[in-house]
């Protein structure tokens, strides 16, 4: 039975069984591959997307259980028109292999949506579920603070 969801502002129909996790519906069903698979057990954050603006691990949510509209990294901004937070990631040259960064950005965007003056402790608390094997944490921290400052000025 196909499932219809709102993804990045558009209605999308996914022709996969409704117990398939959102992550795989996005990637294999819709070809939206910006959202990454890292562990499948909620331990790495690579698959982080927003449902109604809240960061969630898409590997843990079956299609039938998606309760709101979904935003993925592709919905945040584009190479030609990056979101403020993505621009901060570019300005701070955060990525190395880059594989974890979609998830890092989606998690950080959630933090910044409720807190534009994050302390180091706030950043630690919000980001510790997102693993980066390349060890880009110091630049992620800098980019979050940079994005917060820019969003505050805006």
């Amino acid at each position: 039975m196909p499932t219809t969801l709102t993804i990045n502002g558009e209605a999308k129909t996914i022709d996969l069984p409704d117990n398939v996790p959102l992550l795989w519906a996005l990637r294999d069903g819709l070809g939206l591959t910006g959202t990454k698979f890292g562990c499948g057990v909620a331990a790495c954050g690579a698959c982080t997307v927003h449902i109604d603006g809240q960061a969630v691990r898409s590997c843990q949510i079956g299609l039938a259980d998606v309760w709101g509209s979904v935003t993925t990294i592709e919905g945040l901004g584009s190479p030609d028109l990056p979101a403020t937070i993505q621009q901060a990631w570019i300005d701070n040259q955060v990525a190395q292999c880059g594989y974890c960064q979609s998830g890092q950005i989606m998690q950080a965007a959630d933090l910044l949506s409720v807190n534009l003056s994050p302390t180091d402790q706030d950043i630690d608390d919000a980001m510790q579920g997102n693993l980066c094997r390349c060890g880009t944490y110091p630049r992620i921290r800098a980019a979050i603070k940079d994005a917060a400052a820019k969003l505050k000025d805006a």
């Binding site: 960064q101 980001m127 390349c134």
Partner: protein, 744 residues
Amino acid sequence: MASLGKIARRSFLIGSTAIVGGVAFGVYQVNKDAPNPLTPGEGEATLNPFIMINVDGITIITPRAEMGQGVHTTLAALVAEEMDLNWDDVRVMHGPPAQAYYNGALLGLALPFRHYADTNLKHGLRQSVGKVGKLLSLQVTGGSTSMKDAYERMRHAGASAREAMKLAAADQLSVAVADLRTENGMVIAPDGTELSYISLAQAAASVDAPNVDLRPKSEWKLLGTSLPRKDMVGKSTGTAEYAIDVVLPGMKFGTVRMNPKRAGMVSFDATAAEGMDGVEAIVDLGDGIGVIASNTWLAFQAAEAVDIVWQDASYPATSDALMAEIKASLSSEPNSTVRDDGDVTQAVDGTEITAEYDVPWLAHATMEPMNAVAWQDGDTMQIWSGNQGPILVRDKCAEAVGLTPENVTIHTNLMGGGFGRRGESDFSVHAARLATAMPGTPIKMTWSREEDMRHDFYRPAAAASFRGVVKDGKPLLLDGAIAAPSVTRQSSLRIAGSASPGPDRGHVEAAYDQPFAIPNYRISGHLTDIDVPIGFWRSVGSSFNGFFFDTFVDEMAHAAGADPLNFRADLAANEHPVSETVIRTVGEMSQWEKQSAANVGRGIGFSHTFGSAVAQVVEVVEEDGQIRLSKVWICCDVGTALDPAIVKAQMVSGAIYGMSAAMMGEVSFADGAVEQYNFPDYDALRMHSTPEFEVVVLENGPHLGGVGEPGTPPSMPALGNALFDLTGTRARSLPFIKTFDLLV
């Protein structure tokens, strides 16, 4: 963007002539200074296409794999510097499998010289021996060699293309070449006329470009600066394409399940899996099973649902039994004593200390699990894979599915981490084998994290036994024995089918080759004969020897009543001033002399590996009975820092990778299988547990050093030495979490 596969396949056939809407430029001399002891094959030197130009712009083809280390950016900058390109206009692509992209420097690493003692003669020899790499199709990213290898070749590629452009422009404008200059991708005539490289490309491709001298460092505009990375926008917007992201028409999704005991399969029953809605095929691979389904998650579920009887492991079945064999081999006949200064067997007067160390098996755990896409069409196959050695991947895949290598096309994607793991071809071969079960349909084969964790080529467990004598604050004798299964041997057997019986230098690197003047200094390497699959793990042998050697140096300093930092600096002073400066600089950066609070511990670690000297001071803090990492100071000397920001990022990355392993990394075996499945039982440093970093990059060394790996070896002893400073407890067995209550 043009399909590289199509362009490149043709360009290799016809060298530097015009091709499908684009133009490729050759390099006219592979290496102009070192005399070549080997005769290059017919036309070999010209078969070196690094630059593609078509109407859309200029693309630099890189011979090395982008795994996050920034190699695309720096390799492109080498060409762009000489060619006078506008950095914003430069695009980068991975090169296809081709002899032209051999890695000469990697083979040079095998010479039994201490790297720090490279004279110009040895350096030249290292480079010319490297040409053997060309014959061996060594198109490999590893050993922190990418820049050493490309440093001259890529700049020559840019310089000769620039000269070809000027010749073409001179012809067109009837102006003397000497009166032309180049800037921003254009040739500019004395009267101000500007001709873009794009407009000149077709004419320039048929010009015989002269070989010209490379520009001196003092004239560099791009090199030596921190450039915006070419992969940054894609990686910040979810649009960078890894192999796992390749989307093809009608593609199906698959996985495999292989024996966690790394042997064959006795039998399987797939009844339950076959009945799952959306499962299209269960494939008998002989040594395991494959599944093809409508989505990857379903393929994972179905693979789990297959009942499989596995053969038993051919190696001892538990971690303890494996370690017992490794320790037993410490007293076997040594494979090497590459360093044997003075006479360690003589009686030396002083304080004697001894220490035994051991470290566990480790997984690479790249963020992107192993995967590849394969598509069989008649007797041809295309494979998309993130790999560190495309020629090897092509040949292994062709062999596995019975095709000729010419009929297999490899597309190398960006890699979600490599750390050595993606030099292996197993996962690409799995995709190729699955694809033969469904000809005409592209198959994306992805390993579950559990499959990835349990089917790695691990960093081997290792053990060491050290004896030292100190007197009057100085070391008089250091005698170390190191035992582990040999990564060099096992991987050459796997890759080339044979292994050299000679001394295994990689096995003892970071121990035998340290720039320390100790009058009696011997390191013996002992190889343990067990066949747990092992492979290259960031910094390879240095990942365990760095810990063994530098920890023992720290123990000697304490036994000698000397300051550990000065002790190391004094040892390096006469032997290698570059290293001494690195050690003293990290001391200044960290205000080493300053007394720290009672709940703060500090340790120094030093290793000279892959041509670079790196010293780190790690600071740990005890709060409420728990110890956390608070700060790390790093000073490195890489000879020439081609892109300082990338060098710094690699130093920090290498230290985080090393400290993650030292704190909590352990792969263990029970019943012949790895006991770790996923990140909850094989974790790493995260945002809250990562310390602050301060990095200084020096350029006193005479040669270009590596940057991807040298940050890893000294991080582990530095952390252990800090924990000792804080607690008075010397942990000689990793990971540290077995001994200390650490914040992870």
